[in-house]
Subunit: 213 residues, 2 copies
DNA sequence: ACATTAAACGAACGTTCGTTCTATTCTGCG
DNA sequence: CGCAGAATAGAACGAACGTTCGTTTAATGT
């Protein structure tokens, strides 16, 4: 019972720390010190560093779903939801949901060249993320909000690239315009494949209004 | 004299190793072992790990210039050169100029959340890279190859995002279509701001022909 | 309240980290 | 050839790493 609670609070800190120092730079000693507990006591919750890393990835994934995807999924399916996901993603970096920037962008570039279970777990999270993104795009097509010849995988690739690009420009280069640039690019890209002659549906808004701050 | 040579060969290995393990995961003991020399002998060339990291960044920057920028700068200035840079960049990842993918993408995401000289050095490399990219875009504008209202910083942001996105998709997700996707997106983006009524210049080619494999 | 189980501790393990010495070997120049 | 100086090796340092152990504290169920 109590173990569950401490484990959860350990993971919260672990995820925050890893987003700054990296999953490999995440160290048991430092984590224990910051939490005011012993190395061995903390260690017992996981059994190995790798298990801690895997649990941290899982926890970060949950936080991402809660703070980025869940709110965006409340927007009506189709074009509005797709735009909501984009805005939600950019906001998630600006709001510093992870103090070191996007946890998964960092983890991806840290483990993209090494084998192992950690790398596999990171890859799975990204596959899931792309799956969700492509699903939102496909829905927008099905709703008749996007041109029929749109390739969901292609568009998801481009949107994700712009997200990561914004994360990079904001965190490393301290480019305050990073989000404005990303939003501009995303809006232009989405508008280029948007259908306005929605077959049976009524509701429609001015394009730029979707991209609120 | 001899020191210069060994130092250079150390840095070659260091850069390769760091592109896989990260600049922090780059360890003096392992590097020395792989090179068949003693830790202390290797260490003496740099004086500290941070100096080794800084030298590795410098060396990686030189390799990038030699293998990516220099060849592309032989294309005629303007639109062709801009396209050449894009193709050269994508090729640089596919050819595995750095065995762990783009050295600077990895370093950027590793150090984007920490202070220090290493982070500053990475940032400087990226600033230089963006400077070169924006310069190529501005030249294309000056040559009358791009619309006059093109914002070089905005376009550079988008191109870089697509580059990093391709690097990510290829190395982590093993997406064989990553380069095709990036090229498609880049071509579409560049075509959208391309001018065909070049004022005084004669030479012109079919758009898609620039994007050769 | 007490017995049982879970949770956290503190000390120590062997290893590797970056770093500092001193001693030895090699190299290039007069 | 010989000698100065550079280059490398080797041993050792304290600190931190992940991990294991036996013990003590705290929570739980009855």
């Amino acid at each position: 019972m109590k173990g569950q609670r401490t484990r959860a609070s350990i993971l919260q800190h672990a995820v925050d720390l890893a987003s700054v120092e990296g999953l490999e730079g995440l160290t048991i000693g430092r984590l224990a010190e910051e939490l005011g507990m012993s190395k061995s006591g903390l260690f017992a919750h996981f059994g190995s560093k790798e298990e801690l890393q895997l649990a941290a990835i899982e926890s970060a994934g949950q936080r991402f779903i809660d703070t980025v995807m869940r709110p965006a999924l409340e927007a009506p399916r189709g074009y509005p939801r797709l735009v909501a996901i984009c805005n939600s993603w950019l906001d998630y970096v600006r709001r510093r949901v992870f103090p070191g920037g996007c946890f998964f962008a960092a983890a991806s570039f840290e483990f993209d060249g090494r084998p192992g279970m950690v790398r596999d777990a990171v890859k799975k999270q990204m596959d899931d993320w792309f799956g969700a993104l492509e699903r939102a795009i496909r829905m927008a097509k099905d709703e008749g909000h996007l041109e029929a010849d749109v390739d969901p995988a292609q568009l998801a690739f481009e949107l994700n690239a712009l997200f990561f690009g914004a994360n990079f420009a904001y965190n490393l280069r301290h480019d305050e315009e990073a989000f404005a640039r990303a939003r501009r690019a995303i809006e232009q890209r989405l508008e280029s494949v948007r259908r306005y002659d929605v077959p049976p549906a009524p509701s429609r808004r001015a394009a730029a209004r979707d991209f609120v701050d």
